[in-house]
C-alpha cells in the first residue's frame, strides 16, 4: 500500500467515524425522548411507537438505507446520500436506545422517588435532578454496547454509495489490485474503535454497579 492508499483509507475511516458519531448523538437523545413518550402511554402514539420499534429491530440496515435513499425522491425529497445514511443508522439505533432508556426508567427505585416527593419535589424536578442523572449512569453500558453495534452495522451505508472504511478498500484495490492489505488494515481500525468502546463499556459498568450497591 502506498501513501495515497493510506490517505484514502484514513478518509474512509473518518467518514465512518463522523457519520456514526452523528447517528449516535441523535439516536441516544431521540431514544430518550421516545422512551419518555412511551412511558406516558398516550393511546395510538404508544401503539405506533411499539410498531416502529418492532420494525426497526427487524429491518436490516442495508435494506433501510436503500429504502430511504431510493424512495425519498419519489416523494419529491432530494436526499443527500450522507443524510440518508445518517437517517438509516439513526432510525435503527434510536429503537434500541429507546428500549434501554425505558428499562432504566422502569427499574428506577420507587423509594428514591418517594423520598424526592416527600422533599417537596415536583415530578419534573424529580425526573431532572434525581432520576435522569442516575438513569444516565445505569443506561450507559447498554448505550455503549449499542454504539458498538451501530459501528458494526455502519458498512451498510456503502450500499448507497458512501465511501466508508469498508467500501474504501474496494476503491484502493481497484488501483493496487491487492485487495487483502487494505481489508486487513480496515479490520485493525474497526477492532481499535470497537475495542475502545468495549473498554469504555467496562468502565461504565463498574460505575453503574457502584451506584446500585
Amino acid at each position: 500500500m502506498n501513501a495515497s492508499a493510506w490517505h484514502m483509507l484514513l478518509e474512509g475511516a473518518w467518514t465512518t467515524v463522523w457519520i456514526s458519531g452523528i447517528s449516535i448523538a441523535i439516536g441516544v437523545t431521540a431514544g430518550l425522548i421516545l422512551a419518555l413518550i412511551r412511558i406516558a402511554r398516550i393511546p395510538v402514539v404508544d401503539q405506533v411507537l411499539v410498531l416502529y420499534i418492532s420494525l426497526a429491530r427487524a429491518t436490516p440496515l442495508v435494506t433501510l438505507a436503500l429504502f430511504i435513499f431510493l424512495s425519498a425522491p419519489t416523494f419529491g425529497i432530494n436526499l443527500d446520500r450522507n443524510v440518508a445514511g445518517i437517517l438509516a443508522l439513526t432510525l435503527n439505533t434510536t429503537a434500541f436506545n429507546a428500549e434501554i432508556w425505558r428499562s432504566a426508567f422502569r427499574n428506577f427505585s420507587r423509594e428514591q422517588r418517594e423520598a424526592a416527593m416527600a422533599n417537596g419535589m415536583t415530578p419534573w424536578v424529580t425526573f431532572r435532578r434525581i432520576m435522569l442523572p442516575q438513569m444516565m449512569i445505569t443506561s450507559l453500558p447498554g448505550l455503549i454496547n449499542e454504539m458498538s453495534f451501530l459501528i458494526k452495522g455502519s458498512p451498510a451505508i456503502a450500499v448507497i454509495g458512501i465511501v466508508d472504511l469498508t467500501r474504501v478498500t474496494n476503491r484502493i484495490s481497484a488501483v493496487t489490485y491487492e485487495p487483502l492489505p487494505p481489508i486487513l488494515v480496515a479490520c485493525v481500525l474497526y477492532m481499535a474503535a470497537i475495542g475502545c468502546l468495549v473498554w469504555l463499556q467496562r468502565i461504565a459498568e463498574r460505575r453503574a454497579n457502584r451506584l446500585a450497591v
Binding site: L66, K152, T166, C187
Partner: protein
C-alpha cells in the same frame, strides 16, 4: 397498472429472493450453531494450548463488522489462491461470524453451569465427550435460548449485507425491482415486511420453546 399491481406481477422475483435469503440464513445459522458448539467443546479445556488463541479469535470476530469479514472471504482469499463465489463467501462469513457469537453466548452460560452436575456425571463414569454432548450442551442451549433467538435475528439482518457482494437475495430483489419499475417505496415496504414477519415468527418459536423448556425443568430459576 398501479404500483402494487406491478409488484404483484413481479411476485416471482420476490419469492426467489425470499427463498434465497432463507436458504442462506438456514444453511449459515445451522453451520454457525455447529461451530459455536464445537468452539464450546474446545474451550472445555481438553486441549489447553487451543483455549487462548480460540478466545482471541472469538473476541476478535466480535469486534469486526460482518461485512468486512465477507469482504475478507470474497476479495481477500484469492490472494491465497482460494476462490469462493459470492454466495459461498457470504454463507461462510455468516457461519464463522455468528458461530463466534454463539460460542460466546454458550461460554457465558457455561461459566455458571453447576459444577455439582459435572462431578456427579464423572462419578457415574461418563466420558468427557459423552458428558459434554448429553449433559452440558443440551442444558446450555436451552438456557441461552433468548440470547440465541436475538442472535438469529441479527444473523437474518446480516444476510442483507450480502447484496453488497452481489449475492442475489431478498434485498437485492427489491433493489432490482425498484430500479426496473421505479417503485422503490412499495418494493422495499414489501421486503421489510418479509424480514419483519420472519423475525416475529422466530420470536414466537423461541417463546414456545421456552414453555417446553419450563415444563422439562431446564431453567434453573
Amino acid at each position: 397498472m398501479s404500483n402494487w399491481e406491478i409488484l404483484w406481477s413481479a411476485r416471482d422475483q420476490f419469492w426467489s429472493g425470499f427463498f434465497s435469503t432463507m436458504e442462506i440464513f438456514g444453511l449459515s445459522i445451522s453451520a454457525a450453531f455447529l461451530i459455536g458448539c464445537g468452539m464450546l467443546y474446545l474451550l472445555e479445556g481438553s486441549r489447553p494450548r487451543l483455549t487462548v488463541p480460540l478466545r482471541v479469535f472469538i473476541d476478535g470476530m466480535r469486534m469486526l463488522p460482518f461485512l468486512i469479514l465477507a469482504y475478507l472471504l470474497y476479495y481477500g482469499l484469492p490472494a491465497f489462491d482460494i476462490r469462493l463465489d459470492a454466495w459461498w463467501s457470504g454463507v461462510g462469513a455468516l457461519a464463522v461470524y455468528h458461530g463466534c457469537y454463539f460460542a460466546e453466548i454458550f461460554r457465558g452460560a457455561r461459566l455458571t453451569f453447576p459444577p455439582g452436575q459435572v462431578e456427579a456425571a464423572k462419578a457415574h463414569g461418563f466420558t468427557k465427550g459423552k458428558m459434554f454432548f448429553r449433559l452440558i450442551l443440551p442444558q446450555i442451549v436451552m438456557q441461552t435460548r433468548p440470547l440465541l433467538g436475538n442472535q438469529l435475528i441479527y444473523a437474518l439482518k446480516d444476510t442483507a449485507f450480502l447484496v453488497i457482494i452481489t449475492v442475489q437475495e431478498l434485498t437485492a430483489a427489491a433493489n432490482s425491482l425498484a430500479g426496473t419499475y421505479f417503485i422503490p417505496t412499495e418494493a422495499f415496504i414489501v421486503v421489510i415486511g418479509f424480514y419483519w414477519a420472519v423475525s416475529v415468527v422466530m420470536e414466537i418459536i423461541i417463546k414456545q420453546c421456552g414453555r417446553f423448556s419450563a415444563k422439562r425443568g431446564f431453567d434453573h430459576v
